[in-house]
Amino acid sequence: MVGTELALFIMIGALSILAAVMMLISENAVHSALFLIVNFACVAFMYLMLNAPFLFAVQITVYAGAIMVLFLFVIMLMGAERVLPQETQRFPWLAPATLGVTMALLFVAGLAIIQSDIDTSEPEPADPIFRFVHAVAGADAVDVYIDGEKVVSDLIYREASDFEDFPAGSYTAQVVPHESELVPENIVLETSVFLAGNGVISYVLTADTANGGVQALQVEGRIDPNDEKDFARLTVVHAIPCAAGTTSCPIEVADITEPGKDPQVLVKSLEYGQATHFEVKEGEYTLAAYAQGDVRAAIDERGDTDEKLNLDALVQVEEKVIDQNTGVLWVVTQDTTGGIVRPKILWFALDNNPDFGSAEGIGQLLFTDYLLPFEVIGLLLLTAMVGVIVLTKQHETPKKERFRRRMANVPGNPTVEEYVQSMRKNAADSSGD
């Protein structure tokens, strides 16, 4: 049984080969150019099958559009579409020799491709990416150093830093208040972090009530963009410190989207400092976080601004649309604005990497890692443009100069000036008579 995608590949692939062959054997250059456009369109379709929508658009607009129009323009401008009948007759052995050589090339290449086991080989793991989330209620902005190198600056409460990428390995992370020196007495938190290949790690900085400091919770998650799923992954971090004197203060998370129905508990007994994740279908959700066992109270007090920490732990995420195949990080923490301590859910995308092959991803690469090559290419295009203008410029010699040159070219002939002078002299002589 041949799948739809494979059937499409075979059809479009056959069409592209047919178009290429027709391009080769067409008698008329205009027909060749049109067949080449068909071939380019087929290749563009292949790009679409290979998750490269941006290149698909560029292929259609630049290749099939601009470049081929240039070809057709030149062919029609010169009237060179007719092919001379005596073409390729100069070397009669050329056609069979070419066929033999290229077929040998194709055979060797095909053998190499088939024998190479491309599809079974595993790719190198990508560099891990990580970020820090500041969830210490009321604390000042912090800077984060990794092995003495400042990677995050001015991270304020409720914010997440951008993702940074480091080669896989073990590092030491140090957190200091913003704009303070990296000296031992300033360090709020020092922890070793292990970054594994392909990892997407969020370090959530939370208050550590047991030791009276700050701790970093490690939350991992990677959504493979090529792995189409019809659900989203939500990661919940419990970052509300327990009340003084208690050691256990678990929370639950329930789906209370439909008020009439029984709430669907998604996360049970999540202790302070723990993280868990669950999967939901895409859609709009109202989710509540509350102290364990208090689900009825949480629903009854929906929207209530009760000051008790454990009871009003109800946070509604109204009309929060969760797309499929995404990751979301929720940090349940405290909101201390206005002197009232209330639970608060911070919402972050788990992995903000743009889709593979999207225009956004290409643009990001183009303006970060490949900025210099991009500029060099731009310069090359500019040079090519100037070169084309210089090449096609008609070198018109001024009329007067051409005349003088012709006069001077014949040995013994007078130059223009002498000629004019002699004419004038003749005229004067004749008038003097």
Binding site: G13, S16, L55, L94, A95, I362, T392
Partner: protein, 104 residues
């Protein structure tokens, strides 16, 4: 990652076939414009292989590479066609066998 339905090998094979056709065009045809089109075909097949491997290794860098190849191809086409136009003005022909001024 789920295994893609169309194997990377098939894309690379298609790319090899297109490249072969392009090289045949360069060797067989004597019209300079057709030779140019065949070179474009070869560039395209190389791009196809690059994009296929980009999916295989999950690396967007190859897409950048293809982007750059396209840009260079555009510059090359502009200069090449300008050369052909200039040659056509003097020789009144685009047959590469007529261009034997440097023949020993």
């Amino acid at each position: 990652m789920d295994k893609p339905e169309v194997a990377t090998e098939l894309f690379v094979l298609l790319s090899a076939v297109l490249f072969t056709l392009g090289s045949m065009g360069v060797l067989l045809r004597r019209n300079a414009i057709l030779i140019f089109m065949s070179i474009e075909l070869m560039l395209n097949s190389a791009n196809l292989a690059l994009v296929a491997f980009a999916r295989q290794w999950n690396q967007s860098d190859a897409h950048l590479m293809v982007f750059f190849v396209m840009t260079v191809a555009a510059a090359e086409v502009a200069v090449g066609l300008a050369l052909i136009v200039t040659i056509y003005r003097t020789k009144q022909s685009t047959d590469v066998d007529d261009l034997h001024a440097l023949q020993g």
